[in-house]
């Protein structure tokens, strides 16, 4: 009996309080965070879910998210300061997307990422993007159709476009940090833009019309050197980047017909590999690509039922993609001298000793690096019809 009482007394000591109790109604779930910088202060904006609007029953038709902003000398200060304005403490565990202002990116992004990699509540599975020609706050201020929560729309559209189109890169925080510190690979991030009128985009009316007057759209890739944004790739180069770095999952590529017109190839399997080597003391890189695709669209008069035509088309695809890749590499080598493709890492993997000698001045080596591209493309199927009806019309 005595024992029981003692145990109970001891237990009450521990069970009386739970120091880390946090109920759902005390959390402000931040889905997207934007980082801008004025003169010397960070402006942080957080897109926070309004729980009552997300639930089916109690929805009153107001916006599903709200935006809080705060300024501070550092990111952490600003996020905590947000409580002066927001009724709940920010909970970043469900963060989907981090938007960084272009001007800030030009100054350097490393400092603003430090907290995000250290804080225990954050998971590193959110995407990082750069707001192009616009502040991050303005990006987070746009309502979106289909997805009630704009952060989800941004996350999902980057994910689907990366999967089905290529030319955009869903870079998560860890990848970004790894690329920032690596000697042999520089970072890229996808740009995000707001099209249309920025002012009307903030209200619910924006999504009430069939074509929203203000839309969020992904742009091309931003090239970084160390942690500073140095420039942008164009669309073709962005797709060339995906081709090189094996981030293509599915895509469509248009190639020219032997005579005139276009044929669209639907690539459904794609694999590329970068292999480094040292040739007569100089670094060299081989890119090996294997692709499989179907004919998706035939816009020229050509007899695709001939086996030779298929062979010819495969050749043309190989030539044209090779051309795009060479152009991409050349323009990056000339304009930015930033090894975003990870050629340095490839050489580190194959020739660690030589790499250690050349890594100090890799930027110069990179800008006149020889790159050989080997592509092996196979066309498998041609869809549900054989020769195109266009052929009949034209004949």
């Amino acid at each position: 009996m005595k024992k029981c009482i003692v145990t109970l007394l001891v237990l009450t000591l521990f069970l009386s309080g739970c120091w880390d109790r946090r109920e759902l109604n005390e959390l402000g779930i931040a889905m997207a965070i934007g980082i801008d910088k004025t003169e010397n202060e960070y402006v942080i904006s957080a897109q926070v879910v309004v729980p009552s609007e997300v639930s089916m029953k109690a929805s009153t038709g107001r916006s599903a998210v709200t935006l809080y902003t705060a300024t501070g000398e550092t990111v952490y200060e600003a996020i905590r300061k947000m409580t002066k304005n927001a009724p709940r403490k920010m909970y970043p565990g469900h963060l989907q997307i981090l938007v960084i202002n272009e001007d800030l990116a030009k100054e350097g992004i490393a400092e603003s990422l430090e907290l995000l990699s250290r804080d225990w509540e954050l998971r590193s599975d959110f995407y990082v993007v750069v707001a192009k020609d616009i502040t991050a706050t303005e990006v987070l201020n746009v309502t979106t159709p289909i997805e009630n929560i704009p952060a989800n729309k941004m996350f999902n559209s980057l994910k689907t476009s990366e999967k089905n189109w290529a030319g955009t890169e869903g870079v998560i925080l860890d990848e970004l940090v790894t690329n920032l510190i690596s000697d042999g690979k520089e970072a890229v991030l996808t740009g995000i833009q707001v099209l249309g009128n920025k002012e009307t985009g903030t209200s619910k009316q924006n999504v009430e019309s069939i074509t929203p007057s203000t839309r969020i759209e992904y742009d091309n890739l931003a090239v970084f050197k160390e942690d500073q944004l140095v420039g942008w790739l164009n669309e073709e180069e962005s797709r060339g980047y995906s081709d090189i770095t094996n981030t293509v999952k599915k895509t469509v590529t248009s190639i020219t017909c032997p005579k005139e017109g276009k044929i669209i190839i639907d690539i459904f399997r794609y694999h590329s590999k970068i292999i480094g080597s040292i040739n007569k003391g100089e670094p060299e890189v081989d890119i090996k690509i294997e692709a499989e695709g179907n004919i998706g669209e035939v816009l020229c008069s050509i007899d695709i039922m001939e086996p030779e035509t298929i062979d010819k088309l495969e050749k043309i695809y190989e030539e044209e993609v090779k051309e795009i890749i060479h152009q991409t590499i050349e323009s990056v080598q000339k304009q930015y001298q930033s090894d975003i493709f990870g050629f340095g890492e490839a050489i580190h993997r194959s020739n660690p000793k030589e790499w250690n000698e050349m890594k100090e001045h890799w930027d110069e080596k990179f800008s006149d690096l020889t790159v050989n591209v080997h592509i092996d493309m196979k066309i498998r199927r041609i869809g549900t019809v054989n020769n195109s009806f266009l052929k009949k019309i034209k004949d």
Binding site: F14, C18, W19, D20, W120, R123, S124, D125, D174, V177, T178, I181, S182, E345, H348, R349, S350, N351, P352
Partner: protein
């Protein structure tokens, strides 16, 4: 003396596995990757190899006296006073490491899950179950370990299977860049924490085990299996998270589990990893604590060790609060001072013991023949 309970070799095997894994499963990958970079997994293999040699030494020494615990062997070979002095150091180390493990567990919880919870509360709870286990005796500990090893295996398989699609072999290349010296150096921490510290198991082996010959095999195999667990996690951390990131993380395996995402459906299951770690950490702490209470009891020639559990438990909790002022200090100590402490108590004294035994062999034999 008071110990009539005996555990069987299989139970001992399970205890050795838990002891070897211990805290290492979360921390070792980071320590290995700091110096050896992408060759951390090679360092883990080297560590397992050297670790087995250490265990072989322990078992050899212990089997010279199959009915004595380490404390009793010390006294027998070094003589009463020197032997007791060595044993005091040994017991002090075991107590210190119990406290150190408490600090580990509460630091992990306050860093990753519950930042506002005072570590006193966490440590008292943890020590509570450790004391409870030790009071119930070695048999109970061994049986519960038998049950938990299944839980452990299942959780382990879940984590490994779900993370394996994300392995990138590029992260492991170039292989063998670090060089032999760096690799061996970086494996030292792993060897001390999982093999050299296993000297405390000589309080159980061979005196409290029924089939001694088989138990020796269990000791070696258990150490090997535990080592393989740590090797697998090191390999996964480096190949999934990358060498740089592994080195930068304080708990790389936890970060590894955070990455699990199967079809946007199986995700956010890193607590499994936490649970996995707690099981191993609990058994390691309980073995340290058991060694220290049993050791003190034998030093003082007490009939039963149970009266010591509560006071020593309180001592361990208090020690765990003052042992490290902060996490940085802890990391610094555990990779320098604690390694020397472990090596001197877990390797230097046993070797000395072997040498003295070689000289006094004949005399000791005569003593035992004519008691």
């Amino acid at each position: 003396m008071m110990q009539n309970v005996k555990i069987n070799p299989y139970q001992f095997l399970v205890l050795v596995i838990f002891f070897t894994i211990g805290t290492g499963i979360l921390i070792v990958p980071s320590v290995l990757a700091t110096e050896a970079k992408q060759d951390a997994w090679i360092a883990a293999i080297v560590g397992i190899g050297i670790g087995l040699l250490v265990i072989w030494l322990f078992t050899t020494i212990a089997l010279w006296f199959p009915h004595l615990t380490y404390i009793q062997i010390n006294e027998k070979i070094f003589g009463k006073w020197i032997g007791k002095a060595v044993s005091v150091l040994f017991v002090a180390m075991a107590t210190l490491y119990t406290a150190s493990l408490l600090y580990y567990s509460s630091t992990f919880i306050t860093t990753n899950m519950m930042p506002n919870t005072p570590i006193v509360a966490l440590n008292i709870l943890m020590m509570g179950i450790v004391v409870m286990g030790v009071r119930l005796g070695l048999e109970t500990i061994a049986r519960s370990a038998e049950i938990f090893i299944f839980v452990f295996f299942v959780l382990f398989l879940i984590v490994v299977v779900f993370i394996s699609p994300q392995i990138k072999f590029e992260n492991l290349q170039p292989v063998f860049e670090a060089g032999t010296k760096t690799i061996v150096q970086s494996s030292i921490y792993f060897i001390t924490s999982s093999s050299v510290n296993a000297i405390v198991l000589l309080m159980i082996f061979p005196a409290l085990i029924n089939k001694v010959k088989q138990a020796r095999k269990s000791f070696l195999i258990g150490n090997l299996i535990g080592g393989i667990f740590i090797f697998i996690f090191t390999f996964l951390s480096v190949s999934v998270v990358g060498a740089d990131d592994t080195a930068r993380q304080i708990y790389p395996s936890y970060e590894l589990a955070k990455r699990i995402n199967v079809g946007d459906f199986v995700q956010r299951i890193e607590e499994l990893m936490g649970f996995l770690w707690f099981i191993a950490l609990y058994f390691k702490a309980i073995l340290y604590f058991y060694a220290s209470v049993l050791g003190i009891a034998q030093l003082l020639n007490l009939k039963d060790y149970r009266p010591l559990t509560l006071p020593l438990g309180v001592l361990a909790v208090i020690l765990s609060l003052v042992i490290y002022p902060n996490v940085v200090y802890q990391k610094e100590i555990e990779q320098s001072t604690e390694i020397y402490l472990s090596i001197s108590i877990g390797l230097f004294f046993p070797l000395l013991l072997a040498i003295v035994y070689a000289f006094r062999k004949n005399k000791l034999k005569k003593e035992s023949e004519s008691p």
